[in-house]
Subunit: 387 residues, 2 copies
């Protein structure tokens, strides 16, 4: 298997981009990544996206984006794994290069969730759950996460502010990310007074509905020197790429408070990269809801069961902490354009590992992990990158 490296990154700002359609948002990210890599064409484009068919009446999205970016005659396919679509697209792009089928591959993630005329974005997000056994009964996606958070608080006898640290950390970091949707820090008081949207989840526990796109350029590690010239900040290698699934419906899990697939995919990733969790300098986790941050930290080996919330509470997750997470704002503050999120995470890891993270730079970061979660933990993709 050939090693795979990232030589270009690009992203659009995240927000309510009412004056741009999906193809335009994707173009912003793809063209930026191509310019960053110094390429004018590619062998393939894999696009992570969840909702274009449901919300935009547009399938065949990868060829549409390729077409709009002037990439004709190449391979193009859309990859869908709910909110893990971006991470899944990177998995596929990695396999395309590792296998030798392609040398220059663009991986993009794009989602257009606002201003979708005549469509219901909340219902669209519920398509990540089981349409016949969950969504049919009216449970929304935030509703499913609220059930998990409620149970977690009950099991471990936690106060309502137990999760505040995750949200405050995300907003503190997002304040310095020019592409973040929310660029302002929040106080504990603001967290506590935030409107509840599905008990006990308040609006500060929850990532926003938004639009955005991010993109990466992959090449074989053995060919990096042909692309990375003097002025380039250097490539980042994909040291591990792994995915695991679980039951789709939360009610089918023996223990809904343990993310089995997060454990499986991160263990595979640790093995591939030959590292321990403690070796990591930064961890971009999937903080779609604060409860997911706690569960993710427990399943990936950073906290014992029922103690993931403590890392946020005790401030260990800040830029200067033991394990910096959501360093560019995470899903909460940068925003969560669902199918694009997994690619944003990687773009931000590359920024950290190449010293381009500005005010949010984790000093001396050399090894980072990103974990992208689809559904309520049903599909979990983990990547480890090394500078």
């Amino acid at each position: 298997m050939r090693g795979v490296s990232i030589i270009g990154i690009g992203q659009s700002p995240v927000g309510e981009l009412w004056n741009q359609s999906a193809r335009q948002i994707a173009y912003t990210a793809v063209s930026a990544a191509m310019a960053d890599a110094g390429i004018t064409t590619a062998d393939a484009l894999f696009v992570g996206n969840m909702l274009s068919g449901n919300l935009l009446d547009q399938e065949h999205l990868a060829t549409l984006v390729a077409d709009f970016c002037g990439l004709h005659g190449i391979e193009a396919a859309k990859i869908e794994a709910a909110c893990a679509s971006g991470g899944a697209a990177l998995r596929i792009g990695t396999m395309a290069v590792a296998s030798g089928f392609h040398d220059v591959v663009i991986v993009a993630g794009v989602e257009k969730m606002t201003d979708t005329v005549g469509k219901d974005t909340t219902a669209g997000l519920a398509t990540a759950s089981d349409a016949e056994y969950e969504a049919l009964h009216g449970v929304s996606f935030v509703g499913l996460n609220a059930l998990l958070m409620q149970r977690y608080m009950y099991e471990y006898d936690l106060p309502i502010d137990a999760f505040a640290g995750f949200s405050m950390n995300a907003h503190r970091n997002g304040a310095h990310n020019p592409n973040a949707m929310f660029q302002e820090a929040i106080s504990l008081d603001e967290y506590l007074k935030a409107p509840v949207i599905a008990t006990p989840i308040n609006i500060m526990d929850s990532s926003p509905v938004c639009d955005g796109a991010a993109a990466l350029v992959l090449v074989p590690t053995e060919r990096v020197h042909e692309f990375v010239t003097g002025h380039h900040r250097g490539a980042v290698q994909i040291l591990a790429s792994a995915s695991a699934n679980d039951t789709l419906a939360v009610h089918d899990r023996k223990d809904p408070l343990f993310l089995q697939a997060a454990q499986l995919s991160s263990q595979k990733a640790y093995q591939q990269a030959r590292i321990q969790p403690t070796d990591l300098d930064v961890f971009e986790l999937h903080d779609a809801f604060t409860i997911m941050s706690a569960l993710s930290l427990e399943a990936t080996g950073f906290a014992r069961r029922g103690e993931g919330w403590r890392l946020g509470h005790e401030g260990e997750i800040g830029i200067d902490g033991r394990l910096p997470i959501s360093t560019m704002g995470g899903l909460k503050s940068r925003g969560h354009p669902v199918g694009a999120t997994g690619v944003y995470q990687i773009v931000e890891l590359v920024q950290q590992l190449t010293g381009m993270a500005g005010a949010n730079q984790v000093k001396g970061a050399r090894l980072g992990m990103a974990q992208n979660i689809g559904g309520s933990g049903a599909t979990i993709v983990t990547h480890i990158l090394g500078a």
Copy 2:
């Protein structure tokens, strides 16, 4: 790059499967393929599907299918490339094995297009075209193909029965396929009297709206002997796997009557397999509309421009002809559950190459090609298999 072989195939009957949801139809195919391969688990499942988000309000489909098939802890992702989703999923599955990331990969295609409550399947199919520049103006998918057929007939001064041979061949072959939607031959008179649905396309030129699923089990060629034991009919090797795209909108093409992407992807495939078109014993082409059969034969090197229709007219495409096509009924007679079609084509090629095609067996078939087309020629995936 490791060689990749197919050791198991499975399919559901194609038709209006009103009493089964997508997961159940997929289960029929996946469980049959697993039994055929003699496996009880796998490393990954890639599902080709186009319309689950739009018509079924169900995304996250690959993990849903994996879950329903008892495949937990594995990688799962849905691959979408409009009607080429099945072929695109096989591309990804092939890369997964070729790269060394996985050893046992299931590739499935599934589509549920009938009995979709409150949804419009014709509008769903139009999501393969450009939502903002084609579908918005009311052009349906059959409408786009009708424009191509009209222009072709005008350019080459053809009578209305020029395309009859493709439809009659498909129905003649489908009559002997127990999984085909339409299991009866049709006469020229029946073709000529068929109701017109979008001038000049009549109902016998057009593949039907239907449900179905097909599945394959892939392993590294070097490990085939571990799986294929005495009673097994033998594996089939994937000799070539290639994909190419074109502009999404037909009006953006310099020459809408030439399938540039079909030429590109087939040329790549011929090179990979180191063969000439004339070496092929069977060709499963994408006869969603009879005009597509003619254009496909011209772009892949079997006929000169404007003469693809002659192969159908002159009977060279029958089971005993020079180039048998649609040997198990093709999209017209077996049916076209869109995201599943590309996988059905491969299942049928494997049947032909291992002597399991029954009354439709092409004698001595050793080398076959399948071509799967998304949109009106915007994404085209070609595979060549060898026994």
